[in-house]
């Protein structure tokens, strides 16, 4: 008999395929990742270079034209190139911080929910404390303490805050799953705690963890953009947030071609992430399905 073996990746693709919005979202995300990887070759100009016209004058605040597809900044830099290069940091911090916070949150939720009692109490009180911290001010304070601002410190600060939601949600799901007959039976079979948590409980909540991974990526991207917008980002690194910051810092609010592209990119990226997350949410909780 042919053994039906569905790999993890193939299964994820199948889930995405069944949902049009999610596959559109996934397509946009993949395209953005591809562009950000290829950005040094795709970008028409050096994003930091000040461009001059034939007469030696700076191409200051030029609206979109044939030469500069998305116009130029106050310092004569190409907006399109800046946007392409800026996507790298934005996506990198989003996926890295999102992954770490989902990883930490899922583990804390699993351990807390499975062991219960004192372990649960300690871990959940820590989560409560983190819940009590305001997001942006915490990151700003962290960045100031660990100055000069670097992406690594901002990333760390984001991870330290965003794991809380994942931990809470995963814990509540574990509380329900650990009482299921198959988990109790796994225990009678002699499975140790580690095996029960990671082999028997974790796969059952994987769709939920993926939902929160997507959401964490979105939160991280937003957080990094807001921090950069407020001017606490690394001044030497281009990101969509830092582009927005420069527009406002220089009072060039009328140069719509300067801030609309990075703004729209941010929104599209976040919306795409949520479309994928929503699909996984439906997968983990079929009651949310409205169609079919």
């Amino acid at each position: 008999m042919k053994i039906m073996k569905i790999s993890f990746v193939a299964q994820q693709l199948r889930i995405l395929k069944e949902n049009r919005l999610a596959s559109a979202g996934a397509f946009i995300i993949l395209l953005m990742i591809l562009l950000s990887i290829l950005s040094p070759w795709v970008a028409p100009y050096d994003p930091w270079k000040t461009n001059f016209d034939k007469n030696g004058k700076v191409e200051m605040l030029k609206p979109p034209n044939n030469q500069f597809l998305l116009g130029t900044t106050l310092y004569g830099r190409d907006v399109l190139s800046q946007m392409l290069i800026g996507s790298r940091v934005t996506l990198l911090i989003g996926f890295f911080a999102g992954f770490c916070s989902a990883f930490i949150g899922a583990n804390i939720g699993l351990i807390s929910g499975y062991y219960g009692k004192i372990t649960d109490n300690i871990l959940m009180r820590i989560t409560d404390i983190v819940y009590g911290m305001p997001f942006e001010p915490f990151i700003i304070v962290m960045v100031i303490i660990l100055s000069p601002p670097k992406i690594s410190t901002i990333g760390l600060a984001i991870i330290l805050i965003t794991w809380r939601t994942t931990a809470r949600v995963v814990r509540s799901e574990v509380l329900s799953i650990r009482e299921r007959p198959y988990i109790i039976l796994a225990k009678i079979r002699g499975a140790d705690n580690f095996r029960i948590i990671y082999r028997h409980i974790a796969p059952n909540i994987l769709p939920l963890i993926l939902v929160y991974f997507c959401a964490s990526v979105a939160w991280s991207v937003i957080a990094y953009a807001s921090i950069s917008f407020l001017g606490f980002g690394d001044p030497n690194i281009l990101s969509w947030g830092s582009m927005l910051y420069e527009v406002f810092a220089n009072g060039s609010i009328r140069a719509w071609w300067w801030f609309i592209p990075p703004g729209i990119c941010l929104s599209i990226f976040i919306v795409s992430l949520y479309m994928v997350a929503r699909c996984y949410e439906e997968f983990s909780n079929p009651r949310l399905r409205t169609h079919r």
Partner: protein
């Protein structure tokens, strides 16, 4: 082989202590097939959970459970997990429908059970799984199926295959055939008994269906409110019952030879497990109870070899048997 002495299981709840098992003692020899019967909430499952140690943390377990001369209650968690669980005592659970993890294939779960306790390679374990499934009557090609692809009866048989995977010396079947139709039920029971006789291990079968126990076991324990009311060989209990509760239960089962038989049930409800009556626990519903029944706890009396009864009036059993057949005996109390 398994000896339980004065086992007490209490659940601590906000309502008070729920005494699920009270002074339970019995002995199980190698090769015994013992059935435990009793109505819902009489402590059957609590007893099993105490033996395999999966009671929740708000429970107090008192007494001794000796298994092959080791006290299971005093044993360290890790030692119990490694040396007793599944290797020595395995369970065929009540709800086979939910007893398999939905995200793993059937073979993965059996292989896991085998490899947790023995040092063999994955391929050897897979071969063993194939043999086990064949043994319980499932085509081995189905072992690569996920649980949802199997029918209820097949899942139940997979559970049996898993339970005998390591040839445990004690097999506990916790209502192994609830939710199955009678034909599948019969087939599965026959399989369990065949396996048990071939492997010569002991079997504890839990059920509230006495006829099912009569069919499969050689001994029976009648439980009521966490206590043994009567226990002994199947024949002795069925043809020579002593305890009024057993007599009442007998009435409640239809006899295939008697047409238009009125089924007489025992009036009343079991006592609250939080606030147990002082004397005999069955006294409130017993048509033959005397004031002396409510004075102090009733001990077990051995009426003949291996036949124990917790009733003060074992000498009047003959008279009770006659009276218990009459419907008005049970009605008088209402």
């Amino acid at each position: 082989m398994l000896e339980i002495r004065n086992l007490k299981v209490k659940y601590l709840t906000h309502l008070g202590e729920i005494k699920a098992v009270n002074n339970f003692s019995f002995k199980l020899e190698q090769g015994d097939k013992i059935g435990i019967a009793g109505e819902s909430g009489c402590g059957k499952s609590s007893l099993i959970k105490a033996i395999v140690r999966i009671l929740p943390s708000n429970t107090i377990v008192d007494g001794e459970i000796y298994f092959k001369d080791k006290n299971l209650i005093a044993m360290e968690d890790e030692e119990f997990r490694k040396s007793v669980r599944w290797k020595e005592i395995s369970i065929i659970p009540q709800s086979a429908m939910n007893a398999l993890n939905p995200v793993y294939r059937v073979c993965d779960q059996i292989v896991e059970a085998i490899r947790t306790h023995s040092e063999i390679t994955r391929n050897e374990a897979l071969e063993k799984t194939e043999r086990l499934l064949e043994y319980v009557g499932i085509n081995p090609t189905r072992m690569y199926d996920y649980p949802h692809q199997l029918s209820g009866g097949m899942k139940q048989r997979v559970m049996i295959a898993m339970a005998i995977a390591l040839n445990p010396s004690l097999l506990i079947a916790d209502e192994p055939t609830t939710a199955l139709d009678v034909i599948v039920q019969h087939r599965i029971l026959r399989r369990i008994i065949e396996i048990q006789e071939e492997l010569e291990n002991s079997l504890i079968m839990i059920s509230h269906d006495i006829s099912l126990i009569a069919q499969t076991c050689n001994k029976i324990i009648i439980m009521y409110a966490g206590k043994i009311m009567e226990c002994g060989d199947i024949d002795a209990i069925f043809y020579q019952p002593y305890h009024p509760y057993t007599l009442g239960l007998q009435n409640a089962f239809p006899n295939i030879n008697i047409l238009e038989q009125n089924i007489v049930s025992i009036p009343g409800l079991p006592p609250s497990l939080i606030d147990l009556p002082k004397g005999c626990l069955f006294a409130d519903r017993c048509p033959f109870s005397q004031p002396v029944c409510r004075k102090e706890e009733v001990n077990q009396f051995e009426v003949e070899e291996g036949h124990f009864v917790s009733c003060l009036f074992t000498d009047k059993a003959e008279e009770f048997r006659g009276l218990a057949k009459r419907e008005d005996t049970w009605k008088m109390r209402l």
